[in-house]
Subunit: 233 residues, 2 copies
């Protein structure tokens, strides 16, 4: 018996990686004046991974990592004007309209008819709250949980708080690392809705093994979610 169904936000209900992707292009264009374009992406990813334990996820962390990468890649030659452009790119991300993915509202509505529906999203609290407010979906959820990292402990804490056993919980999301693996590991169900853009850090090497798990379901799109949920329940 499923008691609680949670949706992920970024790249499950609304576009996120596309906004990062746009900024990566902007950054590459800017930095191509200083350095061979092939070096830019790997170095930026390395800076992000190095900073993750201290900065966490989100646009502000990403902006700081872009600035550090720019200084490193240019050997300190990057101009203040270019650094301001990087901050402006970060600001543009935070101001970017929230674009719902196809079928987001319908999927939440369909699931709400039969289940308690929650949002579980990770990253920068301020930015996530702002996106949720601008998404217009805020009042569709019976609860909202914004966490710093979606790992097994975070899911266990959420379920304890809501008085739900893992076997009564379904998580719906695009990220193998954040939405699928930890939920299956603690005994919950997961409906994977892959997104064409998924950040390398959110991918896992053993995604095939995950997909073979008995409590794993894969949806081609959000429109498939209600039927898959009925099958689980």
């Amino acid at each position: 018996m499923i008691e609680l169904v949670a949706f992920d936000g970024d790249d499950t209900l609304w576009q996120n990686e596309s906004i990062f992707s746009m900024t990566h292009e902007r950054f590459a264009t800017l930095m191509s004046r200083y350095v061979d374009v092939d070096h830019i992406e790997p170095r930026l990813f390395a800076t992000e991974m190095r900073n993750l334990h201290l900065f966490g996820y989100g646009v502000k962390s990403f902006t700081l990592s872009m600035i550090e990468t720019a200084i490193e890649l240019s050997d300190g030659a990057v101009t203040a004007a270019d650094i301001q452009s990087i901050i402006d790119a970060g600001r543009a991300m935070l101001e970017h309209p929230v674009e719902l993915l196809d079928g987001a509202g319908d999927a939440i509505e369909a699931v709400s008819r039969t289940h308690r529906v929650m949002l579980v999203t990770k990253g920068d609290l301020f930015d996530q709250e702002s996106k949720l407010a601008r998404s217009g979906l805020g009042d569709r959820f019976s609860a909202v949980e914004i966490v710093a990292e979606k790992n097994e402990r975070a899911y266990e804490r959420i379920l304890t708080r809501h008085g739900v056993a893992p076997s009564q919980f379904v998580m719906i999301g695009n990220s193998p690392r954040s939405d699928i693996a930890p939920v299956l590991a603690i005994g919950g169900w997961a409906i994977h809705v892959p997104h064409e853009l998924t950040w390398a850090h959110e991918r896992l090497d053993d995604e095939d093994a995950l997909a073979a798990h008995g409590r794993y379901r894969r949806a081609a799109s959000l429109a498939d979610v209600p039927a898959l949920l009925a099958d689980v329940a």
Copy 2:
């Protein structure tokens, strides 16, 4: 009958503003090479206020605001090396040991003997979770709420979630704006523990009026909290 007692974190249980203060000095020293030192603080505060609606609170926001201020104050002459120093100053803040304020552990323990005790802190989720973990106080609280902004709505949401009426709730903290005014406004009780360093943004013009409120109590230090709470309850 008081059902729930919440402590603020920053500058109530652990030092925070002192770390910002240290960084302000570091920033002023750096920027004094470019501009008259009197211009630095007002411009930094103006940048922070301008960015607050988009960046929110916390070290990463502050670091981005320092970088923008450095670019503006230097008319674009600030070097990449100096910008890296600013990022390093931000990193040092995030890595700074958590220094508990005198009597923090004792106050929580004393209150726990008679009441459910919660932490309600605002700002950057990742940084606050990290500070809580490093404070060693994590398992002393029956619940932890980290919010983007401590306003009336945020407190109402927390109390609803925990099934407590405002009149059964006491908030303990140093910030008139975040810990005292909104709690009194929704009908709760507030114990104000002033800290010698309080960020200008957390101050209010009408603090005397707050202090005259019937549900306001003022503690000289955390050691006074249990007695004031007994008086309220």
